[in-house]
């Protein structure tokens, strides 16, 4: 057979059915796309043809059988069937595990759940994409049982000296940083997290339950029912979100709390508003003023007599010198130095690595043009 052929046509049968043949004799002639070739007897014996002249056979199909005694085609076919019966392999243990489509698994992963969670809800069914969506819809539709979910470990009915119980808005990495700080603050404690990501509901972050979506009614109810005392926003990446939640919830009478890491230093006569997150090794210098709802990552310094507005977000290592004046909703990257008496206007964005020598007008975007040459280090070997 040529390498390009998958079938051959029997063009001539050279022996009579049932005739005795000797090894090496031509029994029939086959044609492929490449050429015509002879098929020879492989053994001595009596031949029975299983193909007809003109028949097209696939590679591997029998042409004829040569037996030690004359044998009918039926007997030979029965014999072939008996030896080529499919072997049924025993099912491996746990084979049922792969009972979902790849799409279903991918959608589940994208939604932050395990496909096994879905499979557990639909036993014995091959899980499809639609099943995953149904599972997610049912999860988010479940009523939130606030009383049961809030982690109130503070068994203290008296206001004086009481631990402040906080609700954290957002269950992401900002929440982890706040929880890390709270773990070191004896006077504050997180009792619940609210987040719009339904896949987090019913789960917990560092032991604090995510009790439901970002919903003012729900949080206010928790405060009214004496399950929580204040709120802090952990989301540092979206200033519009911070501002909206702070303004709307403050208007609704929900109190905001400051979370200040114990390693942060606050100078004399400094004023700090509400809803601020001030993380490790920050400094608020003497006579500095910090407004409301700012998020200061580690190692930020608001130096003496500086003024910081509201809803600002700082990456780590933003250092002001004296009497800086920072407006509302400003956003800072990492590693920024600000000279004395500099004003940064509201809604500005200052990129990482900037050094501010002059005032920044409102609604500016600053990007550092620092450019480094990187070359291969010469190593003596």
């Amino acid at each position: 057979m040529g390498a390009n052929d998958t079938t051959a046509i029997i063009v001539e049968i050279a022996k009579q059915p049932g005739e005795q043949v000797r090894k090496g004799e031509v029994i029939c002639v086959a044609e492929t796309t490449k050429s015509i070739f002879d098929i020879e007897a492989t053994h001595d014996g009596w031949i029975t043809f299983l193909a007809e002249t003109g028949g097209e056979l696939a590679v591997g199909e029998p042409v004829a059988a040569i037996c030690d005694t004359p044998t009918s085609a039926e007997e030979i076919l029965a014999f072939i069937a008996s030896v080529s019966a499919p072997v049924i392999l025993p099912q491996a243990e746990g084979d049922a595990a792969a009972s979902w489509t790849m799409k279903a698994e991918m959608v589940a992963r994208q939604q932050g759940i395990e496909i096994q969670q879905v499979a557990a809800v639909f036993p014995g069914k091959k899980i499809t994409e639609a099943d995953v969506h149904q599972f997610l819809a049912e999860q988010s539709a479940k009523p939130i049982s606030v009383t049961a979910a809030v982690r109130d470990l503070v068994n203290d009915p008296y206001p004086a000296g009481r631990v402040q119980r906080l609700v954290i808005v957002g269950g992401g990495e900002g929440a982890v940083q706040i929880l890390d700080a709270l773990a070191k603050i004896p006077g504050q404690h997180a009792v619940a997290i609210v987040d719009d990501n339904a896949t987090l509901h019913g789960r917990s972050v560092a032991g604090v339950p995510v009790v439901g979506p970002v919903d003012a009614t729900h949080v206010k109810q928790m405060i009214q029912q004496n399950q929580a005392d204040g709120v802090v926003i952990s989301v540092s990446t979206s200033i519009p979100f911070r501002q909206r939640i702070f303004d709307e919830w403050s208007a609704a009478g929900i109190p905001f709390a400051n979370v200040v890491h114990p390693s942060a230093q606050v100078g004399i006569n400094a004023a700090i508003g509400a809803g601020n997150v001030i993380l490790a090794f920050c400094q608020i210098g003497p006579c500095a003023t910090v407004g409301n709802n700012n998020f200061l990552s580690a190692y930020c310094s608001i130096e003496h007599h500086s003024t910081l507005g509201n809803h600002c977000s700082f990456g780590p290592g933003v250092i002001t010198s004296s009497r800086a004046n920072i407006g509302d909703r400003a956003r800072f990257g990492t590693g920024i130095f600000i000279e004395p008496h500099i004003t940064v206007g509201h809604d500005s964005v200052v990129g990482s690595g900037c050094i501010l020598w002059s005032d920044v007008p409102a609604e500016s975007v600053l990007k550092s043009k620092l450019n480094y040459a990187i070359r291969q280090k010469k190593v003596k070997r």
């Binding site: 390498a3 390009n4 796309t33 490449k34 489509t101 992963r109 499809t128």
Partner: protein, 338 residues
């Protein structure tokens, strides 16, 4: 529906019909005369039917194409066969420096209606110099067309278009496609349509999902890779992954990019698969064109799939390692999707 022709039957029929319809068509190449009828039997029966216009040649690809150029310049419509595509390198000078340039160099006073047919591709254990896919070396040469039908194209119709063309055409036939039956219609699970049915060399769109759904992934491929698609589309369908495959027959020049860009923007995820190696290749050109049109519209980088950048071994298992398989394409699709 009557059973579809195999690729080789379709090409053979097209050659017979072209010769019957136009006495200017001449066919020549190595060992193409009956009874042998050519290494892959595309020309089988042709020399018997048209003994004056079908002839065999010495083993010299440069001369074969050079002679074809002369015939074309003098008003014939030569169809030259190169027995293996690997040897098209020997005819590169005639194709690039002569055939592709004469009409422009003579200010349009001559045409060069030349077709050079040649089989490419591996998978047969033919070793390093009989298995390559070198068509990309001729892509991007101005005024030279490179055409490669898939099993979802009417290969004979494409060949007739190439013979009718006034411009030189390198016509790529994949060895593994020859015995396969063409699939030119939709089936219960596979939607088949032409993006541009009126084009000289149309583009096929295959989908393993029905109307009203949008694709998860867009696969752009050509020629021999199409042999994997019936099985691949079914496998993905079983896994609920909606694949849209776009298969242009014209490799060079590329077909208008707009419908490809629209498809890419629709799914946001693109895999480009080709039989040959990927560096500086057809897929690279296609990806660059898509990026020009799809900036910001893709969910992830385009992934290209092709043969490993090495020689193609003769040993079957090693050859399988080097060449593209259904699995490598499947993995690329899962990669862009996850």
């Amino acid at each position: 529906m009557s059973q579809m022709l195999t690729n080789v039957e379709s090409l053979r029929g097209a050659l017979h019909n072209a010769m019957a319809d136009d006495s200017a068509v001449v066919v020549f190449g190595e060992d193409i005369l009956d009874p042998y009828g050519g290494a892959f039997k595309v020309t089988k029966g042709l020399s018997t039917a048209f003994p004056q216009r079908v002839f065999t040649t010495p083993i010299c690809e440069g001369s074969i194409v050079g002679m074809a150029n002369g015939l074309a310049l003098r008003g014939m419509r030569p169809v030259a066969e190169l027995m293996f595509g690997d040897f098209i390198t020997l005819a590169a000078d005639q194709l690039i420096n002569h055939a592709a340039k004469f009409p422009a160099m003579y200010n349009g006073r001559v045409t060069l209606p030349l077709v050079v047919r040649t089989p490419m591709g591996g998978g047969r254990g033919y070793g390093p110099t009989h298995s390559q896919s070198l068509e990309r070396m001729f892509c991007g040469v101005p005024h030279l067309s490179v055409v490669a039908p898939s099993i979802f194209h009417d290969a004979g119709k494409s060949l007739r278009a190439a013979i009718a063309s006034a411009q030189p055409v390198v016509f790529i036939e994949n060895k593994l496609l020859y015995p396969l039956r063409q699939q030119l219609h939709s089936t219960a699970t596979l939607q088949h349509e032409f993006l541009d049915a009126e084009a000289e060399y149309p583009t096929v769109r295959l989908r393993n999902f029905g109307a009203g759904n949008s694709p998860d992934v867009t696969l752009i491929t050509n020629g021999g890779i199409s042999r994997f698609l019936p099985s691949l589309l079914q496998r993905l369908s079983d896994e609920e992954i909606r694949l849209e495959a776009l298969i242009p027959a014209s490799l060079s020049p590329l077909p208008p990019i707009a419908p490809f860009a629209a498809a890419a923007a629709n799914s946001g995820r693109v895999v480009i698969a080709e039989e040959g190696t990927t560096s500086n290749g057809w897929g690279a050109e296609f990806a660059a064109r898509l990026y020009e049109s799809c900036m910001g519209k893709l969910a992830c980088p385009i992934v290209r799939v092709g043969a490993l950048p090495t020689v193609i071994p003769a040993a079957k298992q090693l050859e399988d390692e080097v060449l593209v398989s259904e699995t490598t394409i499947l993995n690329a699709i899962l990669k862009v999707f996850s």
